[in-house]
Symmetry: C2
Subunit: 331 residues, 2 copies
């Protein structure tokens, strides 16, 4: 399980995908259980924090990742503003101070200063933090790589084989040795079958951010690059039965789904992503995702399409494969 | 200009793309100029607001759009938490109250209650608001549409022609009658030339969210669907010279760029999007974006690729084209 979580974690390019990395904080009504004394303690341990560097931040998501020292220990602090809650909206509007910024016709803008208990900032402290933590939260620039069919054979394939990334956790799922209770649907056929289960990024509490993964039963297909017309029955089976299973279980029709493969994938055993249309899932951008419907069409008109085509994908600065492309003078 | 802004506005699927809809609030040091009296006024006009409906919200972006009444007038209120600023970080950490939530090994999480002036909420009021405002801010579900080459001829093309969407604002740019001072680069050739200029969504203050548009000089190409091998010189010219111009002007190499077309586009005069890799620009998802490099490759191997291929794209529930697909029994 831990292995499985760690592998899937790399599926996200986001440094801020915290939900996978630390346990979820307890909800309000659980809070204080066993921690009551500390909860009301006035001391603010962060007042002694000295910042070394902002590792990353997002103006869109209102968060910031900071490296620094806390009482002589290395620490990473993560701050993220909390969502605006409908149930406290009336209190927020009536109990705040408004500062007018601008008025133009029917539009006006203000800075609203809210009571602090209605406007909390979620704070996560990692202390002592290791080099690895700092690196994990450090924003990584990505570069777009251009991989011809030949590049795949001479650079990418040898790299994948040498790394021999373990997909034991995938086999455990396929053999029901792990996560059997999470399976949403299975077609057990060894040639065209697959297992459909929720991605770890999805908490399954609402369909707004629905995210499932179909993992194929055949074991020899590493990625999009291996697909030819012989795999059409497998791909069509996943497309049809995956959509059916999601309609049955979650009442979400096919027209609300984005069904796609990643290239590069985060693990080299063929799998297909099902996410809700309108949910901006990490990795659904045009530079990494390939619609399953397009993949099927392309292979139908040219069985060798994905063997011969130049494919484009982003690699993070610390990705070993990027170094290989650089060494080969392809970047 | 107003027309141009309005057209481009539809480029975004996000109801919360506020920067296009109201004038930007003044920065802190400009604030209060001429409004000083109001700025210090203690009265909170929003305390009398009564909520009718939450139109949309985003837990990720920490905003909420609310329809209601303000002193008997229809109003829309938009609240959005402000980004966490590096320059006030020390004050924020030392001046706040911390409530411990959870401690597990090296990880701990807190709720941080900050001084309200360090943790403001940007508030926009539209009052009186019309039906149209309410509709604009209402979250719209999208559906994925499957358009065959025949569907394009029988459903989409007649719809586009009947609507006769004006692209006069595009011609104004190409003829230097508008926005001439915003042009970053131009190749004036009537067959393979184009104008490159910043998208309205980009404030040009940082390259992190760089967003430029190349608008082609030829006037008869509506979209991806019209492209054949005869357009390869045009597409290659945009790809090469657009990237060169961005390197020259913004010092951003081609490997940091995502270059793509939209289908459906928001206006039917061929244009190409250049955005920074890593910036999740609205509309860069696999369901709407097509990498220019892929488009070129596909046309090279089959001149009729985009005339004959089934294309998939999302349409909002209130899109007239969606009704046409429904009427035709294609959804």
């Amino acid at each position: 399980m831990a292995d499985s979580a760690a592998k899937r974690e790399t599926d996200s390019d986001e440094p801020d995908d915290l939900s996978l990395k630390v346990k979820r904080p307890k909800s309000d009504n659980e809070n204080g259980r066993g921690l009551g004394a500390k909860d009301s303690e006035p001391k603010n341990i962060l007042s002694g924090f000295s910042t070394s560097k902002v590792l990353s931040d997002s103006a869109r998501e209102k968060n910031i990742f900071v490296h620094g020292k806390l009482a002589d220990q290395e620490a990473v602090i993560i701050l993220e503003k909390t969502p605006i809650r409908e149930d406290t909206l009336a209190e927020l509007l009536s109990g705040s101070t408004l500062k007018l910024e601008l008025k133009n016709d029917i539009y006006s803008t203000y800075r609203l200063q809210a009571p602090s208990h209605l406007n909390e900032i979620k704070t996560t402290v990692v202390c002592p933090a290791t080099e690895k933590h700092v690196k994990k939260y450090q924003r990584q620039e990505s570069s777009l790589v251009e991989e011809t069919g030949e590049d795949y054979q001479s650079i990418t394939l040898p790299y994948i084989q040498k790394q021999s990334f373990s997909v034991q956790w995938v086999f455990n799922i396929l053999e029901k040795k792990a996560e059997a209770d999470r399976i949403v649907y299975e077609d057990p056929d060894p040639k065209v079958g697959f297992v459909l289960l929720p991605d770890f990024k999805w908490d399954q509490k609402q369909v707004d951010d629905l995210y499932l993964i179909a993992i194929v039963h055949p074991r020899e297909i590493k990625s999009l690059r291996d697909l030819t017309s012989e795999h059409l029955p497998l791909l069509q089976n996943i497309f049809v039965k995956g959509k059916e299973a999601i309609l049955q279980r979650y009442n979400l029709p096919a027209s609300k789904l984005r069904v796609y493969l990643h290239y590069q994938p985060s693990y080299y055993h063929l799998h297909v992503h099902f996410t809700k249309l309108g949910y901006e899932a990490p990795g659904c951008g045009v530079e990494r995702a390939h619609l399953l419907a397009d993949v099927i069409q392309n292979i139908q008109s040219d069985s060798q399409y994905y063997k011969t085509r130049t494919l484009y994908f982003p690699l993070r600065a610390d990705d070993g494969l990027l170094s290989k492309f650089k060494e080969a003078g392809r970047l």
